[in-house]
């Protein structure tokens, strides 16, 4: 829609393989940055980089495979996936494996799976299907139904407890409702309800460590050696990077291990320290471009289901970036959300890439949809 015909011509080859080249290139750029920063953050451990390379390879494979599937198939899979996902979440609740203080995994013999990751895709799919059943905009009753659908997986995940994922699942559903035209009055009412809900969550639903995180977020310097330490060190890392950065592998905060969780949750601090505000701008432009491209695909999509799903997937990635960057730079409380496509770790990367696979399927299966 925003491209010239010449550009589109050059992309034809990739479209035949259902790949959206600009998006693909942006993702590839992020992957390269990821490997470079992980090498630095992990103390020049090449084994770490190799493992991450393998994961990136797997994630891109998943992306390419999912891009080949027609959006109609996804629409058909929406309900079964959601049901299975919720069932698995319930199974985790009762039979889950405890790891890192939370019950998130389900041991299915061969491997462990994390049903909450499935819900990151299944929830927006479900909501998109649900909203596409009737003429947009969604009506009050429909919106309530949608919120109920969102609440089920969100609460089950929050119970594990995995606040970060719950937040992402919740927002992926809410984005569908918003994009589906939920009325502004309803949105205002929901915000008021949320505000009323916060004290309830604080006193009845949150765990002690979660409360501690929020308190630390509000006054990190009050506990400089305890839980505030992470945020203080992270801000020092980012701030001391300055405009130009200290240079790759030269970040003292990261290389000398003052930063916690360097190659996972706090990788943005490592990046900011070594590449400075210039590097940060490049990164934010990349993310911005991905969001722009994703929303463009969503607008161009012809089916309502596809539009809503594409929009939600794109905006969820944005939420990832927002929560992570906001957290490490001291704007938001510490919530365990990785920096999308940069942080070390396979699970969330595969989920995100799966989302982009679906996004590309939506972008490239248009003719088929037209014929349908």
């Amino acid at each position: 829609m925003m491209q010239t015909s010449q550009e589109r011509g050059s992309l034809t080859l990739f479209y035949r393989f259902h790949i959206d080249l600009p998006l693909f290139l942006a993702l590839a750029c992020l992957s390269v940055i990821s490997l470079a920063v992980i090498y630095s953050a992990g103390g020049q451990d090449i084994a770490l980089v190799q493992r991450q390379s393998v994961r990136i390879g797997i994630a891109f494979t998943v992306l390419i495979v999912l891009a080949q599937i027609s959006p109609l198939t996804y629409k058909r899979l929406a309900i079964p996936m959601f049901v299975v996902g919720v069932a698995l979440l319930l199974a985790v609740l009762f039979f889950g494996v405890v790891g890192k203080g939370a019950q998130r995994w389900l041991d299915i013999g061969i491997t462990r799976i994390q049903p909450s990751e499935i819900m990151k895709i299944a929830t927006p799919m479900m909501l998109a299907w649900y909203c596409s059943q009737q003429q947009l905009p969604v009506r009050w009753t429909q919106a309530f139904g949608g919120l109920l659908l969102i609440a089920v997986p969100t609460l089950l995940i929050a119970k594990q407890p995995d606040l970060g994922t719950a937040l992402l699942v919740f927002s992926s559903g809410v984005f569908v409702l918003f994009l589906a035209g939920m009325s502004w009055r309803l949105i205002s009412a929901a915000l008021v309800a949320l505000a009323a809900f916060l004290p309830v969550a604080w006193f009845f639903l949150m765990h002690n460590y979660q409360r501690q995180r929020v308190l630390t977020f509000l006054h990190p310097e009050s506990d400089p050696l305890g839980s505030g330490y992470h945020i203080i060190q992270s801000k020092i890392a980012i701030g001391s990077g300055g405009f130009e950065g200290k240079g790759w592998l030269q970040g003292t905060q990261s290389q000398l291990e003052f930063l916690p969780e360097r190659h996972t949750d706090f990788i943005f601090s490592v990046f900011s320290e070594e590449f400075g505000l210039m590097g940060v701008c490049v990164l934010l432009i990349l993310y911005g471009f991905i969001v722009y491209r994703g929303l463009a695909i969503a607008i161009r999509a012809q089916q309502v289901f596809s539009k809503l799903l594409a929009g939600s997937i794109t905006l969820t990635v944005f939420i990832y970036a927002l929560v992570n960057i906001g957290m490490v730079s001291g704007l938001l409380p510490v919530v365990g959300v990785p920096l999308p496509l940069i942080s070390y770790g396979g699970t969330s990367m595969v989920t995100i890439m799966a989302g982009f696979g679906i996004l590309m399927a939506i972008a490239t299966h248009r003719r088929l949809v037209l014929r349908d």
Partner: protein
């Protein structure tokens, strides 16, 4: 079917429009949020850059003090007496250890250590601490170091450190002179803070505790250096950014001579006592040995409380430096000094003799003050009185001088005061006076006591060092050198020799008084009836001296009348309990015509000075002159060789 109809009714354009507007709103929100994030990052990275850069640097950069190397201590010939040797120790940073008890137990097991190190370590840990790491055990063998290195990864927070430790190669030979260094304790810190020198000890763990090590601490210690290092979050040093080297302490050369000190120790083997050997010409101490002594090295390593208790409770009091802290009645060794008083005040003259019936009578007092030879020495003049150690002569002298005059004169000879030798462990002993007795015993002074004082008894006590120092005043005809251990300091290649510590000379009317007294002292050695004669038969040099025999107080109190405490001679009843036997004292110098060395000897509970202390002096002087000759010969040989080489070189050049 319902669905189909529904679809048919759908307004796709409206839906697309709604979605597009909502998507644009989202895009706008995303852009706004990104701008907020960026604004915050700008705030951190550009506005706050200076602050965060400073905080980042203070995170990673630490300035560590580097201890200076302590100056070495040599004897006068450059023989090393205190050195610094590399030792390996296990050090623990308790903050980095998860389970301290477990770690300690495993360390003891791994290194085959004694269990007691654990309790020592915990006491150390509870004390006021100056360093994060605490030594667990010192002096590891190489094998232990290797064993630990192999298992190091099981011991987080524990490391092997190599550092220099003070070592005294002569163990106990110089302990009372050199002293030792020990770990800095709270009192040391307070003292250093009072001197404003605590900052010099930022990296130093030990400080001079005794003797020369303590007295010359400021010379020996040096100045610390600093290294600016980068550390990681666990405090481990990653690299050094900047290094300011420490300034090492100055080396010290002492007047002592290892060989003379050794012979002194040999002479006191198995006895309690002290020997002071002084360079007559400047007061330098060639030897100062107190027996029994103890190994100084055990204090450097930190002495165990059992070992320390054993030293404290040892009835021979090895911790006491008898040369400077031992208080002995001077007995007859005081007679030459008394003679000088008599001559100066005109109470006696050089040639007048008195008749000694074997006793002296005080007018109006019934009791007789006896000479040690009950039948007397007959006609006795000053020289003879010194030669045979006549008591009657000095009873009369003392009686005529009176206690007040004796006190004042002897004070000017250095008795009753610290000599000012360059170690802090010194006792002023006791020079009695009327005022002292009134104040301490609340009794008036009795004339009888003056007579006892005249032969170096009663309340009068001296240290062997005071005795040597006073004797040297006679030997140098009135020059007053303070005894001194320091010969020179060396700063790098720069040697600075110590000037003698000299007080204004003693004001004596006629120098002939000195020669008369010295003649008397030489006769005590050379004449057949001289009290030290037997010890010096066939000596290849001319010696002079004066013996002394002091009965120990307990025996005097138990059996004797107080005025009879002195028996100079050789009738020592062997059956007396060892601790009740007489103390032997001796002062002397040699050669008699050109004095080079002056000495004082005190040996406890061995019997008379003539038989027990004079032979010790003889052997020391024999050794000294013999050794001196060999040293001179060696120097001559060296000199000749050098001249020969020079000549050869010159002839080479000529060719």
């Amino acid at each position: 079917m319902n669905r189909r109809r529904h679809n048919a009714l759908r307004d796709y354009t409206a839906e697309a429009g709604l979605f597009a507007s909502r998507a644009m709103i989202c895009m706008g929100l995303v852009a706004t949020v990104f701008l907020v994030l960026l604004g915050n990052l700008y705030h951190l990275q550009v506005t706050g850059f200076q602050e965060f850069q400073t905080r980042s640097n203070s995170n990673r950069i630490t300035v560590l003090p580097v201890p200076p190397n302590r100056g070495l201590i040599y004897d006068r010939n450059g023989e090393i007496l205190a050195e610094n040797i590399a030792v390996y120790s296990i050090e623990i940073i308790p903050e980095e250890v998860d389970d301290l008890d477990d770690t300690l137990t495993r360390l003891v097991e791994l290194l085959d250590l004694d269990e007691s190190v654990i309790s020592q370590f915990t006491t150390q840990m509870r004390r006021a601490r100056r360093f994060p790491q605490i030594p667990f055990t010192d002096n590891l063998s190489e094998e232990q170091v290797a064993r630990f290195a192999l298992h190091q990864h099981h011991f987080p927070g524990v490391s092997v450190e190599a550092r220099l430790q003070r070592h005294y190669p002569y163990d106990d030979l110089f302990t009372h002179v050199i002293g030792y260094v020990g770990r800095i304790n709270r009192q040391d810190i307070q003292r250093l803070q009072a001197n404003d020198s605590y900052n010099l000890y930022a990296a130093t763990r030990t400080i001079g505790k005794l003797g020369v090590e303590r007295y010359y601490e400021s010379v020996l210690h040096g100045k610390p250096g600093f290294q600016t290092v980068e550390v990681n979050s666990r405090g481990r040093v990653v690299r050094t950014l900047e290094f300011t080297p420490p300034v090492p302490g100055q080396d010290i050369y002492l007047e002592v001579d290892v060989q003379v000190q050794k012979i002194a120790r040999h002479q006191l083997q198995g006895r309690r006592g002290a020997i002071v050997v002084m360079d007559s010409e400047n007061g330098g101490l060639l030897a100062m040995y107190s027996n029994p002594s103890y190994d100084a090295n055990q204090f450097v390593r930190g002495i165990s409380s059992t070992a320390y208790q054993a030293l404290l409770q040892n009835s021979n009091n090895p911790l006491i430096n008898r040369a400077t802290q031992g208080r002995y009645p001077p007995a007859s060794t005081i007679k030459p000094h008394m003679a000088l008083l008599g001559l100066e005040d005109g109470l006696v003259d050089l040639d007048t003799s008195i008749w000694d019936p074997g006793y002296y009578e005080l007018p109006g007092v019934e009791r007789r003050f006896r000479n040690w030879r009950s039948w007397g020495h007959g006609w006795v003049d000053l020289r003879k009185a010194l030669q045979v150690s006549n008591n009657t002569y000095f009873y009369k002298l003392a009686h005529e001088a009176g206690i007040d005059r004796i006190h004042d004169f002897m004070l000017s000879m250095g008795f009753g005061e610290r000599t000012g030798v360059d170690i802090h462990e010194e006792n002023q002993a006791l020079l009695p006076s009327r005022g002292w007795k009134q104040a301490n015993l609340n009794e008036p002074w009795y004339t009888g006591e003056t007579l006892s004082v005249g032969i170096g008894q009663s309340f009068w006590t001296v240290t062997p060092l005071q005795l040597a120092t006073a004797t040297n005043i006679l030997v140098t005809e009135g020059r007053r050198f303070q005894p001194r251990l320091l010969r020179a300091t060396r700063d790098g290649e720069q040697m600075t020799y110590q000037e003698p510590f000299e007080l204004p000379p003693l004001n004596i009317r006629d120098p002939i008084f000195f020669s008369a007294i010295m003649e008397g002292m030489e006769r005590a050695v050379s004449r057949a009836d001289g009290t030290a004669h037997a010890a010096f038969v066939d000596a290849p040099y001319r010696a002079a001296g004066k013996t002394g025999t002091a009965q120990v107080i307990s025996r005097a109190e138990a059996e004797q009348e107080p005025e009879l405490v002195l028996v100079d001679g050789e009738q020592v009843p062997v059956e007396v309990d060892e601790r009740l036997r007489d103390n032997a004292t001796y002062i002397g110098y040699a050669p008699a015509d050109d004095p080079q060395i002056t000495l004082a000897i005190a040996i406890e509970n061995v019997g008379g000075g003539g038989r027990n202390a004079a032979p010790v002096a003889r052997r020391i002087l024999d050794f000294y002159f013999d050794y001196q000759k060999s040293v001179e010969q060696a120097e001559l040989r060296d000199e000749e060789e050098r001249l020969k080489e020079q000549r050869e070189e010159q002839s080479d050049d000529a060719n």
